[in-house]
């Protein structure tokens, strides 16, 4: 593994009893890089993130994350912030937004120990970073979809992670909130020097932020710097000609014939 690599997959295969989720996946992501992961439904995007977290064990190949391998991945989980793809937070669960964000530090606090004042300060800073300071006392499940998504990002940030994993964080919010969340993630990524893996169905929303792009469909169909992947030749091969690359005001947009760009 090169010195600056934060995540490295070497021929990783993940199999379930009746299907193969990932097959021979290899790539390397340097520290501080922003990777956008695209691909159709069921292409293994979430599974890839779960391998990074050590929640899925490869049946073959090797995943190295922050220099940890195999069962050692569990020990680096607390250095990884995870914003899962999700439904809304259960509005019936009696927990405030502050307490929900505080759960982000539980892993680093350790079993049987209580969070300290410094941990609470980190949570307040994380809520401030996502603009939720005023909502800290509200029931987490009563926040709007966009606020809940910000809350989940705050929970991940409270861990003070080195790697940030986001699984379709804008899938359940309106267009303006989507833009605000992407800008927030980009800002935090830059300010904190995070290594970010961002799974999305809409590559256009994160295009300006990306260092690298991966097109995943069980195996890596394309991976590299944006200009290497997001060019007409590669995209036409991936989408079988159903793609148009538009450039407007210095910004590229990928327009695909179906809904999954």
């Amino acid at each position: 593994m090169s010195r600056s690599a934060a995540v490295r997959f070497e021929g990783v295969t993940v199999a379930y009893p009746h299907s193969v989720a990932l097959e021979d996946v290899s790539f390397e992501l340097g520290q501080g890089e922003f990777l956008g992961i695209i691909g159709p439904n069921g292409s293994g995007k979430t599974t890839l993130l779960r391998v990074v977290l050590g929640l899925e064990r490869p049946a073959a190949g090797k995943a190295t994350v922050l220099d940890a391998v195999g069962s050692g991945l569990a020990s680096v989980r607390r250095r990884i912030g995870y914003v899962p793809q999700r439904r809304s937070i259960d509005p019936r669960f009696p927990v405030s937004a502050f307490d929900a964000a505080l759960m982000g530090v539980y892993g680093s606090v350790g079993l049987l120990r209580r969070p300290l004042a410094a941990d609470r300060a980190r949570v307040r800073a994380a809520l401030d970073a996502v603009g939720l300071t005023d909502m800290a006392g509200h029931v987490a499940g009563h926040l709007s979809g966009g606020q809940q998504q910000r809350l989940l990002i705050a929970r991940a940030l409270a861990q003070e992670p080195e790697i940030l994993l986001l699984d379709e964080p804008t899938s359940a919010v309106d267009v303006s909130t989507r833009q605000a969340i992407v800008e927030l993630v980009h800002k935090l990524h830059a300010e904190r020097g995070l290594t970010t893996l961002y799974v999305t169905h809409d590559i256009n929303e994160v295009l300006p932020c990306l260092d690298k792009v991966m097109y995943l469909n069980r195996t890596v169909r394309a991976f590299g710097r944006c200009e290497e992947v997001l060019n007409r030749k590669t995209l036409e091969a991936l989408y079988r000609g159903r793609v148009v690359l538009v450039e407007q005001e210095g910004r590229k947009y990928v327009v695909v014939g179906d809904s999954h760009a």
């Binding site: 977290l53 929640l55 569990a74 020990s75 989980r77 607390r78 995870y82 899962p84 937070i89 259960d90 019936r92 669960f93 009696p94 927990v95 405030s96 502050f98 307490d99 929900a100 505080l102 759960m103 982000g104 539980y106 892993g107 606090v109 079993l111 049987l112 209580r114 969070p115 800290a136 006392g137 509200h138 029931v139 009563h142 929970r155 861990q159």
Partner: protein
């Protein structure tokens, strides 16, 4: 009013009821928030198999009930994982199986023993000093474990997937919670019985849920409701000369009805304030 306390059996009954009320209502918060009501019912029926085995082998029925309940809790967890079943389906299997074993054990007994049926509806007035010591010890284990693992169980109940992703041992915590529920079932058996026990696992926590949006406060209010229902129910049963287990459940249900009618959640309140973890 308190003249009934001159009898030692009533003193033990009151002390036992308070231990049962407090322990059931504290673990009941998880039963309500995690949707584990069926688990409580399933383990209560497993306890019946254990009690029957105790009578068959002439052993302490509470001891065999503890072993039976913990074994069943383990089987529910393991079989559910291996057979890839939802928890309720796994509970349904062992609910019926352990009940069937109880019926078989009773059938194998050489003579009829009416004491077994006391465990179906409970007999709080029959709590012995030995029973009381066992109940206090089990209650201390259950409440102590919940206190020690307060934040871990909170995260597990709120978002199990994220708790796992954060590095918490969620499988072990889920198994432990089921084990604590099994111990609670056993400690409450003698007082309220298998059939009415479910009520104490659900009603005080459901009552507390009507009154607060704060997780920590829910434990306090649930404990208060559980203790109040048991104490008032016991006194009512003494003066009205009705079965105590049933009186306790009726009082608990009345408290729930009042809480539901006057719940501040119906009137206001999206703000709950952070818990003091």
């Amino acid at each position: 009013m308190l003249d009934f306390l001159q009898y030692s059996f009533m003193q033990r009954a009151l002390a036992g009821s308070l231990v049962v009320g407090l322990t059931c209502s504290i673990i009941g918060v998880f039963v309500v928030l995690r949707g584990m009501a069926f688990a409580g019912s399933g383990l209560a029926h497993a306890a019946f198999g254990g009690v029957a085995l105790g009578f068959l082998l002439n052993l302490n029925p509470l001891l065999t009930a503890v072993l039976f309940c913990l074994g069943t809790a383990g089987l529910i967890q393991v079989a559910g994982k291996r057979a890839q079943l939802r928890l309720d389906a796994s509970i349904g299997i062992f609910f019926a199986f352990t009940m069937a074993l109880g019926v078989v054990f009773i059938g194998l007994m050489k003579r009829y023993d009416a004491r077994i049926y006391g465990y179906l509806f409970g007999n709080v007035l029959g709590i012995t000093e030995g029973n009381l010591v066992t109940m206090v010890a089990l209650g201390a284990v259950v409440i102590g474990a919940i206190g020690l693992l307060y934040k871990e169980l909170k995260f597990l109940s709120f978002d199990e997937e994220m708790a796992q992703a954060s590095g918490l041992p969620t499988t072990a915590l889920s198994a432990l919670l089921l084990g604590l529920l099994a111990l609670t079932v056993v400690l409450a058996l003698k007082a309220v019985g298998i059939i009415l026990l479910q009520a104490l696992l659900v009603i005080p926590a459901a009552t507390a849920y009507q009154l607060t949006n704060r997780y920590g406060m829910m434990f306090f209010l649930s404990g208060l409701c559980g203790v109040a229902a048991c104490a008032v129910g016991l006194v009512v049963s003494y003066y009205l000369e009705v079965p105590s287990g049933a009186a306790i459940v009726i009082v608990a249900t009345a408290l729930f009805g009042l809480a539901m009618l006057f719940s501040p959640k119906r009137r206001k309140c999206r703000v709950c304030g952070p818990d003091s973890v």
